[in-house]
């Protein structure tokens, strides 16, 4: 497989009233062509910001301070605004979280779908409309010709998300970044959308980065999972490995908090105690340390690097940012730790 994307040591921060918010602190990963990567983490862990940083789709207060984003060798982190524009919407498509607000209520669906390809592919309006209708069909919207002339408020939430997906695919991108695309939808529709994406992926053979806070959603969908915490990647492994052999204490916590069929009715779901990290200071130690049940003295002094798991029982592509081997150490319940 060929490498599509390589991210090296990405740092993004936000200017806030009295300083900075360090949202992404040294994220590195790669993505192959046709691969589907799941990015998991709780809200505010920097998963969205780091993925948005890839195509620099950030609010004005944000700024990429360090790192490289190599998309087929082109460094997007240093690309000019117009260069970025040629990437957005053509090489990289985006699907956003809330289809209710992500579509412009003042514009007809057709116009919104077309404007990207009209610009990138220098299509005429008519051609673009034709193309758009084709893609609407593709994402399973019936009566697509007619829909093109409707406003977003005339569509249901699921339909709107399908429109969003069509919009992302229209530019025939090599990479689609889906930022929690199902979070705002009903469960049934959620499932439909997931199925749709799977289907489309096979049909179109593109790479997908699927951002979610819901680890369970990714099962059976993605190839690889990357777990983020406090602005950095804490664990990364092929999907089965993560479910079977989680190594980072945070991942373990996340997995435990997923309800399963075995969960006793009425019992409280386990949750990770403590508060998300304070990102107003640049982290100097493991960001999870304050909440970690396996915390060691070293954890509060240094940032653990993301490295392949040392022992042989793990998958060769399994990497974690932790010094502790959880398989060997017993958790000492610490104040504010798991369970």
């Amino acid at each position: 497989m060929t490498k599509l994307l390589e991210v090296k040591n990405l740092h993004t921060r936000f200017k806030v009233r009295n300083g900075y918010l360090y949202a992404v602190n040294g994220v590195s990963f790669t993505l192959d062509k046709g691969e589907m990567l799941g990015v998991v983490g709780e809200s505010g862990c920097g998963k969205s910001v780091s993925m948005m940083s890839l195509i620099r789709l950030l609010p004005p207060a944000a700024q990429i301070t360090e790192g490289e984003v190599l998309l087929e060798g082109q460094d997007l982190a240093k690309a000019s605004a117009s260069e970025i524009n040629t990437v957005r919407g053509s090489k990289v498509g985006m699907i956003f979280q809330d289809p209710m607000t992500s579509l412009n209520p003042f514009m007809k669906i057709g116009a919104q779908l077309c404007e990207g390809i009209m610009y990138h592919k220098k299509m005429s309006r008519a051609e673009a409309m034709k193309q758009a209708a084709k893609y609407l069909d593709l994402v399973g919207i019936s009566n697509s010709e007619h829909r093109l002339h409707e406003y977003p408020h005339q569509l249901s939430g699921g339909m709107r998300q399908r429109v969003m997906i069509a919009m992302a695919l229209l530019g025939e991108p090599e990479l689609v970044i889906a930022d929690e695309p199902t979070t705002a939808l009903d469960v049934t529709i959620q499932a439909q959308i997931v199925e749709l994406v799977k289907e489309l992926r096979e049909k179109l053979n593109m790479s997908i980065i699927w951002i979610t806070h819901d680890l369970s959603l990714l099962a059976g969908m993605v190839d690889r999972i990357m777990v983020m915490y406090g602005g950095s990647v804490v664990e990364e492994a092929p999907i089965d490995e993560i479910y079977k052999n989680p190594r980072h204490p945070y991942t373990i916590g996340l997995l435990k908090s997923i309800p399963s069929i075995n969960t006793v009715a009425g019992s409280r779901l386990p949750s990770i105690a403590g508060a998300p990290p304070n990102l107003f200071v640049e982290p100097q130690s493991c960001p999870f340390a304050p909440r970690c049940a396996y915390r060691q003295e070293r954890c509060t002094r240094e940032i653990p690097p993301l490295e392949p798991v040392a022992d042989d029982s793990a998958h060769p592509k399994h990497r974690i940012a932790c010094w502790v081997d959880v398989t060997k150490v017993n958790a000492e319940p610490k104040e504010g730790s798991v369970l």
């Binding site: 789709l57 919407g89 003042f106 919104q112 404007e115 990207g116 530019g171």
Partner: protein
């Protein structure tokens, strides 16, 4: 739509009636006697003679009871006749028909032009939030907001004449002449400040909307994002201000038309009030409120066109 407009008009007629009655009563019972004024306004030894004034009033039909005169007046209005000025004897219709276009042309152009400039400046300010350009624009809007037009007008004239060594921009020779641009700007400055603020706030609000991010994600150039996705929603609240702007502009026209020698309604108002010439005052009140009503109606009608969601609500689509 037609029915809606008709309904609005029907609602408007009684309000105009009340307004006219109120003003008529105010002027009739309260304000000075225009006939007496003819004699008293001329300085010095005028031939003021109460008997003679009564004779003149009788001749002009001004000594009839209030209601008789008012009903007579309404009858005339119903026939589209505003009567004659009590001071000059000229037909009010001809006075109004000469003055109204001037004020309308200048006022509407001012509103239109400065709304556009205001929106553009507001958008520029918002896109450069908290940067130098933003501060300059916002500062400009604030200063303009703080200076009343009747101060700004003379200041600008003196600046043009004494500093730029230009002729006094005075009088009227059609909308497209240099001397009309200056009062146009003065007239529009205040409303423009309002629009700048409104547009800036609107853009800031829209900028944080998800759909703007969606648009950016499409990789279209920034100006397309601004024009198609940001400006459009900002227009709606700005357009809803237009009724207010019309009132402000009409008020301002009373204050500055005199300064620039514009032969519009504002100058006519000033003259009519000074001479208690109530046929003229009443006609102006009627015209002013018609203009305001019409602009309000226009705003209401254009609202659904600007915001498809409003259209949906109106037709019960949702």
């Amino acid at each position: 739509m037609g029915r809606y407009i008709l309904f609005r008009l029907l609602k408007w007629i009684p309000s105009v009636f009340i307004l006219l009655l109120l003003i008529y009563a105010l002027v009739f019972f309260g304000a000075g006697d225009p006939i007496k004024l003819i004699f008293l306004q001329a300085p010095g030894d005028v031939a003021y003679d109460p008997d003679r004034v009564e004779a003149i009033r009788d001749a002009a039909g001004l000594n009839r009871p209030f209601l008789v005169q008012f009903i007579d007046y309404l009858g005339n209005i119903a026939h589209g006749n505003f009567g004659n000025s009590l001071v000059s004897g000229r037909s009010v219709n001809s006075m109004i028909s000469a003055a109204l276009p001037v004020t309308l042309k200048i006022g509407l152009t001012a509103i239109f032009l400065l709304s556009i400039i205001g929106i553009i400046l507001g958008v520029i300010a918002a896109l450069n939030q908290n940067k130098l350009l933003d501060n300059l624009i916002v500062g400009f809007a604030l200063i303009v907001w703080g200076i009343p037009v009747f101060v700004a007008g003379p200041l600008i004239i003196v600046f043009l004449v004494l500093v730029m060594d230009m002729d006094v921009p005075y009088g009227w020779s059609g909308l497209f002449s240099f001397k009309v641009i200056v009062p146009l700007l003065v007239l529009g400055l205040n409303p423009m400040a309002l629009i700048i603020r409104q547009a800036r706030a609107g853009v800031l609000e829209v900028l944080s909307e998800d759909y703007v991010r969606t648009a950016r994600a499409k990789g279209i150039p920034n100006y397309q994002v601004v024009v198609k996705h940001i400006m459009r929603p900002v227009l709606t609240p700005v357009v809803s201000q237009i009724g207010l702007l019309v009132i402000a502009t009409l008020n301002n026209s009373i204050l500055i038309e005199k300064v620039f020698g514009l032969p519009g309604l504002g100058r006519l108002t000033e003259t009519a009030i000074k001479t208690s010439d109530y046929p003229v005052i009443l006609a102006i009140v009627l015209i002013f409120s018609t203009v305001v009503m019409a602009s309000n109606l226009l705003v209401d009608i254009s609202y659904p066109m600007l915001d498809p969601r409003a259209a949906a609500k109106k037709t019960g689509d949702e």
